[in-house]
């Protein structure tokens, strides 16, 4: 276990030097961003089993506020990130309080609806750039603008955030909070009978998840230097988090990272190979892969691994 983590850490740290090129760095940045967003989603969607299909609402807030403070007051965008986190927390409470009383698909439905509501609303609100969106500083005025020519600084910034998030998730996993989340996912009624404060625990999970999703959004807009309603609050942003996490294994520490390690390069590769042809083959493949995985590996790659691992380990280590 320990060695695996170490190998992963070294691989991620060394990656930019193995593939020393702007494009690969950019893919690395995209991969880390997907991993951060999906890991953040994983806290509430994976561990607690509350499947949000509207996490773009936190991502979008995280993405908009930094560029908004830049456009309004010429502040460095990163200064908006804490404000975005605060707003996301408020939103999480507003969403969580009513919907966590409900069971089943209501929470999913509510999150979709609220995210769409915000997307449409932002698209009509001139103050935040309406449909056209907001731009960041075209050229950095100093390092504090975090507008770098190279992708490399972003890569390591994102990597640090991912490391912190995984560390926090690991701590959650080991704590009472983490056990309670898993108990809620397994059965709310039983969890309550054992004294688990279900609503409060779910809300705490949503808050923690919202914080990191918001940070992911801030990282995205600062790096991209642009945000509009679709790339901030679009339903595809939410769905991507779900897919990445579910593919790798929702409710496991490294599941979302594994999902990102597979999905992001696959997306880029299919788009690179087939996108220019313009036949839509990219999405036919993408859709097909998701469908086949869901059909044959409903538990994600994590469970496939759990099945295969014993067989693979029959070699020396077994002794």
């Amino acid at each position: 276990m320990k060695t695996g983590t170490l190998v992963l850490a070294v691989a991620l740290l060394a990656y930019p030097f193995v593939l020393y090129d702007h494009f690969y760095w950019d893919i690395g940045v995209g991969l880390l961003l997907a991993a951060i967003s999906a890991s953040a989603w994983n806290i509430v969607g994976g561990y607690a089993g509350q499947v949000s299909v509207g996490h773009a609402m936190f991502f979008g807030i995280g993405a908009y506020v930094p560029l908004l403070v830049f456009n309004l007051w010429q502040l460095p965008p990163i200064a908006g990130a804490p404000l975005a986190v605060a707003l996301s927390l408020v939103l999480a409470v507003v969403i969580g309080l009513p919907t966590f009383r409900l069971r089943g698909h209501y929470f999913s439905m509510a999150t979709i609806a609220v995210a769409e509501l915000i997307r449409i609303f932002i698209g009509t609100w001139d103050f935040v750039g309406a449909a056209i969106g907001l731009q960041g500083p075209a050229v950095g005025r100093g390092w504090w603008d975090l507008t770098f020519r190279s992708e490399l600084p972003y890569y390591y910034i994102f990597l640090v955030v991912l490391a912190v998030l995984l560390y926090v998730t690991r701590a959650v996993e080991k704590s009472r909070f983490g056990y309670y989340l898993r108990a809620i996912k397994a059965g709310e009624r039983a969890a309550r009978s054992l004294g688990v404060p279900v609503q409060q625990t779910k809300l705490k999970a949503l808050l923690l998840s919202a914080v990191f999703t918001s940070i992911a959004g801030s990282l995205y807009s600062i790096k991209t230097g642009f945000i509009d309603p679709e790339s901030g609050f679009g339903i595809l942003i939410s769905v991507q988090m779900v897919i990445v996490a579910a593919l790798g294994g929702a409710g496991t520490l490294y599941g979302p990272l594994v999902g990102a390690l597979i999905l992001v390069p696959a997306q880029t590769a299919t788009n690179t190979w087939f996108g220019g042809g313009g036949s839509g083959l990219t999405y036919i493949l993408y859709g097909g892969i998701i469908l086949v995985l869901a059909r044959f590996e409903p538990g994600g790659l994590h469970e496939l691994w759990q099945r295969l691992a014993p067989r693979l380990r029959r070699t020396p280590r077994a002794a």
Binding site: K174, S175, R176, Y179, Y180, R182, A183, A186, G187, R189, A190, A191, R192, S193, L194, G195, V196, P197, V198
Partner: protein
Amino acid sequence: MLLEADDVTMAFGSFRAVSGASLALDEGEIIGLIGPNGAGKSTFFNCLAGDMVPTGGRIVFAGADMTRASPEAHARAGIGRTFQVPTTFEDMTILENVMVGAFLRHPRRADAHEHARRIVEMTGLKDQAGQRARTLGTPGRKRLEIARVLATGPRLMLLDEALAGLTPAELQQAIALVRQIHATGVTLVIVEHIMEVIMTLTQRVLVFNQGHVIASGKPDAVVKETAVIEAYLGHGRRKRRP
């Protein structure tokens, strides 16, 4: 007086599942609830556990009014329950299942772990502690449910058919376990169809039929009452097991 349920009524629309049931329980008692299926004992049981809020009546536990309290508040107050159909956390290990209960009185992980280990040992699940709950059979699950509740440190345990579906040998072990739990000072309410359990374990029995308590008293006396026999043979959908 540990628990006092007074005139508890639970109506679903015009249908009264429980109609004015009362129960007074002293610390250290073991009592049984019996009656044919659909007699209202499970509903009454759910009211005691906080899973349902009764439409009428009052439930007081250790001096506090629990009538409208949530299930988790019941657990905190010291009322633990098992479920008729086991609801173990399938993807968590046996030990982790028990730890969820243990966390109630032991917020630190190390303490909860330590406490859960003791409980697992006491309930005879030590050998399977590292397995996922889904690998257990029915007897194992029932046992795990009891262990999980025990870990919350209850003063009162409500067992809902926790001993059904066991082989005679398993049943003897289970009865021994319940006795052991009782010996540690836990008060018990048992819903059970198996008369053997009721007769050997309980000190007092309440008989439910059609939402009413039709008889109560010592087990051997109660089973002889005509009303009880009628309820079982006349209206009951289930055969009496002597």
